[in-house]
């Protein structure tokens, strides 16, 4: 197991390296410069500024230096927010995204599994059709459609929930986001995942319910709910576990839109702004952060999968 973990982490290194390289050269190939849009700098001043950040050096030298710094965990200063480093920007903004993402995946898993199991147990009945209809809608309605529509309905027309913004409430020493601000963005993020998860679980459940060991359990006279909970569910949620990796990638994408619409101070909003402003170092830092996150999550999903499914041996 440890050896497997080690090898997977080793394989992750070339991937990260590729990410860094691609992002670096794409960013540099972009027309424009981080120092253009502000006060008109005289050419001399511009040269001094560029020299300060090493932009007067040949590209390969800058690339080498960036790599060397990144390996040591130094992602440099932001080019737009002069007094902040990339790491401090990430540190300030990741919390909102993390809360959003975790709540959404939790909500999506719980609701998705319940719907999927329900649909499978009542296969080809009205509950099944209703659930799968919702699932198809959930896949077909992108976040940037659901978000404004829900805001319009619950925020503007009904006035039940705030239409944008984010707040923290202190409970003892811990800070929690205020529930009111969370409901809409988390729902929007979770909806497409609920759709996919319920489909996955339904398909898995239908297959498992026909298997021999479930028939054996029934023959022993176990009550149905026990069969579902102890025997069938465990096998039926396996596809869900291996889907969690891609799901998190999908959440990251979705959070770009959600953070923009709800005006949340998260990473996603920052990424687009930084890319448009050519804040090279911040963009690079975020791309690396996201790539590493996805790698780790995929690895985690595989390990949970192996822990749940005794047929899989990691070696």
């Amino acid at each position: 197991m440890l050896r497997y973990l080690f090898r997977r982490l080793m394989v992750g290194i070339p991937t990260l390296f590729l990410v860094v390289t691609l992002a670096f050269f794409m960013m540099r190939a972009a027309p424009g410069s981080p120092f253009v849009n502000e006060r008109q700098l005289t050419p001399e001043v511009q040269k001094v500024v560029e020299a300060k950040y090493g932009f007067d050096r040949p590209l390969y030298e800058q690339y080498g230096r960036y790599l060397a710094d990144a390996v040591r965990g130094d992602f440099g200063p932001s080019l737009k927010y002069r007094d902040k480093s990339v790491l401090s920007i990430l540190g300030e903004n990741y919390k909102v995204s993390l809360w959003l993402g975790l709540s959404a995946i939790l909500l999506a898993s719980i609701v998705g599994v319940c719907l999927g199991v329900l649909a499978a147990l009542r296969q080809n009945r009205s509950i099944d059709y209703a659930t799968m209809g919702i699932a198809i809608l959930g896949v077909c309605i992108p976040t940037f459609v659901t978000a404004p529509l829900l805001v319009l309905l619950f925020g503007s027309i009904l006035g039940w929930l705030p239409i944008a913004g984010w707040g923290w409430t202190k409970v003892g020493a811990l800070e929690f986001p205020s529930l009111k601000n969370m409901i809409l963005p988390v729902t929007v993020l979770a909806l497409p995942q609920i759709a996919i998860i319920s489909r996955l679980v339904r398909a898995g459940m239908i297959e498992v319910l026909r298997s021999n060991y479930v028939r054996t359990a029934r023959a022993k006279g176990l009550p149905e709910w026990l069969i579902v909970r102890k025997h069938a569910l465990r096998a039926a949620i396996l596809p869900l576990v291996s889907y969690l990796g891609p799901a998190c990638a999908g959440l990251l994408t979705g959070s770009l839109v959600v953070e923009k619409i709800f005006n949340l101070p998260g990473l996603g909003k920052f990424f687009v702004i930084s890319a448009l402003q050519r804040d090279y170092t911040v963009v690079m830092g975020m791309v690396i952060f996201y790539a590493a996150l996805i790698l780790v999550l995929n690895l985690l999903a595989d390990m949970i999968y192996a822990a749940l499914d005794p047929r899989v041996r990691l070696s």
Binding site: P14, V19, A23, C140, V257, V272, A275, A291
Partner: protein, 302 residues
């Protein structure tokens, strides 16, 4: 069967032979199954209508999609000839909707074609040659797979500017990965088949075998996947437009219309609702067709 059918030269026998020879090909079967699938047929009809509207619609509307009319700012649906209203610049929403639909469908098809060409060529080559080449080529796909795709699309649009043609390419170039995987898997099983062995024995070069014998036989799963790629690309494009990185004004796509509508939704909810409904209906049509095709072409998967 009547006795006369056994007599050589009899008309009954000729008819029987003809029927036997004609038979029903796999594709006939698939078409039959597809046409029996109500959702898929509905999807095809809706999509056909959408295509027609995006092509002919602009001729039916008395406004151009980019005509700014100051007196018609935020005209409500039905007011002054604007069937479904006008936007914050007094542009007719219906005209913009037709134009945007055309742009979105166009991007979907072109980018899907790009992903199709790259994916099929890559996957078939890797699968057919096998060995080290396969390993390296698929490792490249795996690596690209674990990249945060949307960030690279954002970077690409930042790099290449907001050029509609490059958006096609950028999205298509990222969407080919799954296609390559599917095609490789199919190729691996196809290359064991006798007819490939026969082609090899006949002295065909690998390139000819790949493109003349393997690729045509991959068609089934590839067609299914393409119908599912197009909506994914439409979503990706709209997503970029939503972030302000896609199609640029005064051009419209479904994404820019929804984004614009979301900004003005309290003043003019129709600007959000009509494009959203159009988008959802289009995506559903594609999904139904895709599901129907999968059931039709690959019946063992039902």
């Amino acid at each position: 069967m009547s006795v006369s059918a056994m007599i050589p030269g009899s008309p009954e026998r000729a008819e029987l032979l003809e029927r036997a020879v004609k038979g029903r090909s796999l594709w006939d079967d698939a078409r039959r199954r597809l046409l029996r699938n109500k959702a898929a047929v509905a999807g095809m009809i809706v999509l056909g209508l959408m295509l027609l509207l995006s092509l002919l619609g602009p001729l039916l509307v008395p406004f151009a999609y980019d005509t700014v009319t100051k007196t018609d700012v935020w005209a409500e649906p039905g007011v002054r000839g604007h069937l479904i209203g006008a936007d914050s610049l007094g542009r007719d929403l219906l005209a913009r909707l037709f134009a945007g639909l055309g742009v979105s469908l166009g991007i979907g098809v072109v980018a899907a074609a790009v992903s199709l060409i790259i994916g099929v060529a890559w996957g078939a080559t890797a699968g057919y040659i096998g060995g080290k080449v396969d390993e390296v080529m698929m490792r490249v796909v795996d690596t690209l797979y674990s990249l945060p795709f949307i960030f690279f699309v954002i970077l690409l649009t930042v790099v290449f500017g907001k050029n509609i043609f490059l958006i096609f390419l950028a999205i298509g170039a990222v969407e080919w990965l799954t296609m390559a995987r599917i095609v490789r898997g199919q190729t691996l099983s196809l290359k064991q088949k006798e007819f490939i062995e026969a082609a090899r024995a006949a002295g065909l070069r690998p390139a000819a075998i790949i493109f003349r014998h393997i690729v045509p036989n991959l068609l089934g799963p590839v067609v299914v996947y393409v119908t599912l790629t197009i909506p994914a690309i439409i979503i990706a494009e709209s997503f970029l437009s939503f972030l302000g990185l896609g199609v640029q004004a005064p051009m419209a796509s479904l994404g820019t219309l929804i984004a614009g509508g979301a900004q003005d939704m309290e003043m003019a909810p129709w600007l959000l609702i009509f494009p959203s409904v159009t988008m959802v209906v289009t995506l559903m049509a594609f999904n139904f067709i895709g599901d129907g095709l999968r059931d039709a072409i690959d019946p063992k998967d039902r």
